[in-house]
Symmetry: C2
Subunit: 390 residues, 2 copies
């Protein structure tokens, strides 16, 4: 097991009607004027935005609004938010939504006090030293951004989708999580979220670090829970317990609970980011396409953990033929993805003629000559994975 | 699933040589003068105390010392610490040891700024409003106090062993956890710790709350990891990975990670506290005696979760005869406890003639007429469990 730090100071307030506590929580964490960040009409139509505003007003918190955040969030909204925040002297960021809304708020949080261009942080030109505190009202369980110190933004100029990780500054101080708020998510959004959280665990689980029994068993337990609850949440969208289990799984998948002491991989996320940056597909759906392809490549070159995953998560019977065990596990994973309505090939994702040269080139531009840890991907390997994903 | 708050703001710094970071961490959390609290000679003999002092000095942190904390810690040392802390204007508590040392430091931390008797907090006469920050250097994985907001102290006058729970004040700000520091623990201490952490998970796992798939799977995963690593840590006391897995399991067993959204039980801990208060036995060993007896009673009155535990943690084959499945699971749990050198009866614990009348009376004095949630224990039920434990 490797040395590690586990530090997850976010206060997660989970359950029915918890959005009513938003104002009190902003106040507890010293906010006086918040920027509410949200996406399209659903938080307006559902009445959630009004409830949040009422809660802020009741707690004596002033606010401004930044609406219209799109999936795969891009830099123009970040610049707009930074300008608004400076002009209005905002001291607290309050995203109400899913990962795209939260990540935009995070980028604004570090952009406001920074003299340079916020994009400096994403290209490694500068490191955030300070940021506004962030509190979240979560409506889409998927990205795990409510409990993570990460953010991902796409720069329109050049379509570069890049992530940063600065936990001490970017981790939300609180996250309000009411599973009822997720009842109205479409089947597509729900399934994409489920795929994203599975992927977050798998990026940690597929590791060559030895002696990590506790990490393995916890990852496997969370994956089992997701696999068991997914059919229920798809067939009964307003089943509270199913929604609640999936929602909490999305958080522990990405707040550091899973994978302690393991060298992580993250190549699949990088491979997917190129797809969603170029073709603007849903991140979770892109992962549904990439991860089976990556697993197929990984099983060929480093079968051990893939076989363990097949046995412990997918109940494949043990056998000495680890390759066969691994492939059966991958087949079951694909069948699971299909069962919740996810694509497992680029074609199924609607990309008939992927520009694989471009994908490979951009992937290695962003990640360097060799990416990934469980298996090392050079440009020949990443090409093979994109080809497997066709 | 019930509403819940998950808030675990402790910074866990885990791995080899991490004790060298102690001074830096005290400084980070604004300590200028620490009270080092420890037990007997082992932290002195091992050189750990010197390393911690050097680390404090290097970071410019002043300190005083409170030594001689015993297992099942009692009130006189708390009073001594409060007096010392006030006299020396200490602003940071630094326990170096296991649960007894940490809990003593926690009681001192809330006692110093309180005008009344610290015992008021334990008998519910008063609620802590403030306390000194606490940082931990952990040497015994067992109690989970390094990540919990709880403390347990025994009042010598009347032998009352009582606990309090005030997470916002009592949760350590950091915990340094180097598995190498646990190599020298005796087999008895190691096994008692393993039993204690298993019990912490079981108190949460045995719940009537429905729809808690994520909590169940995570609890089962951590228990599986403990059961798998225990034989390795007993036979190879200086196996780093085995020690590391057990050490982290002890933390997640009690910092809120396990059992989210579940009504918890805790009757077995109450039943055991009476035993260790009266007979001064090791808490973990007392739990090894009480928990199988409690499970046997629980299986008779509410078999569901006991059977699930048997199947998922102890690999008992599924069957329609849930009672038989449950009893086989309990038999395997007992065999496991024996295999690591734990007693499973009061007689094996060295208590030939337990005063069951006294145990029952004190248990209900402390916990009320009816205790526990998974099964409700009146005085007839608690008597039956103590009798089963003979």
């Amino acid at each position: 097991m490797n040395n590690f730090t586990f530090y997850s100071p976010t206060e997660f307030v989970f359950g029915k009607a918890t959005e009513a506590q938003t104002g009190t929580l902003v106040k507890k964490y010293h906010g006086t004027k918040a920027m509410i960040v949200y996406g399209g009409g659903s938080v307006v139509r559902s009445g959630l935005l009004d409830k949040v505003k009422q809660s802020l007003t009741a707690a004596g918190i002033d606010y401004v609004e930044l609406a219209g955040i799109q999936p795969n969030p891009t830099d123009p909204k970040v610049y707009e938010g930074i300008e608004l925040g400076r002009k209005e002297h905002v001291d607290f960021m309050l995203p109400v939504g899913g990962g795209s809304v939260i990540d935009t708020a995070k980028a604004i949080a570090i952009g406001i006090p920074y003299e340079g261009d916020f994009w400096d942080f994403f290209i490694g030109k500068s490191v955030p030293q300070t940021g506004l505190p962030i509190g979240v009202v979560l409506t889409i369980p998927a990205a795990g951004s409510e409990g993570s110190g990460n953010a991902v933004i796409t720069k329109l100029d050049g379509l570069r989708k890049l992530g940063i990780r600065t936990p001490e500054i970017l981790r939300p101080v609180f996250a309000v999580m009411n599973p009822e708020l997720t009842y109205t998510l479409s089947a597509w959004q729900t399934a994409s979220g489920i795929t994203d959280m599975m992927a977050h665990i798998m990026e940690r689980y597929f590791s060559n670090t030895q002696g990590v029994e506790i990490a393995d068993r916890m990852c496997e337990g969370v994956m089992k829970a997701i696999v068991n609850e997914a059919p229920r949440v798809m067939s009964e969208p307003d089943n509270y317990d199913a929604r609640a289990n999936i929602m909490w799984a999305g958080t522990v998948a990405h707040n550091g609970t899973c994978g302690v002491g393991c060298e992580e991989d993250w190549a699949s996320h990088g491979l997917e980011h190129e797809i969603s940056a170029i073709y603007d597909v849903t991140h979770g759906a892109g992962l549904a396409v990439i991860f089976p392809a990556w697993l197929t490549y990984a099983a060929k070159h480093n079968v051990g953990k893939v076989a363990q995953y097949a046995v412990r998560v997918w109940d494949v019977p043990e056998s000495d033929d680890l390759q066969a065990v691994a492939m059966e596990g991958i087949a079951r994973f694909k069948a699971f993805l299909h069962s919740i309505g996810m694509p497992v090939t680029l074609r199924e994702l609607g990309i008939e003629n992927p520009d694989i040269d471009l994908l490979v080139r951009k992937f290695h531009e962003d990640k360097g000559k060799v990416a990934g840890n469980y298996v090392h991907l050079d440009s020949q390997a990443s090409r093979e994975i994109y080809e497997l994903a066709r």
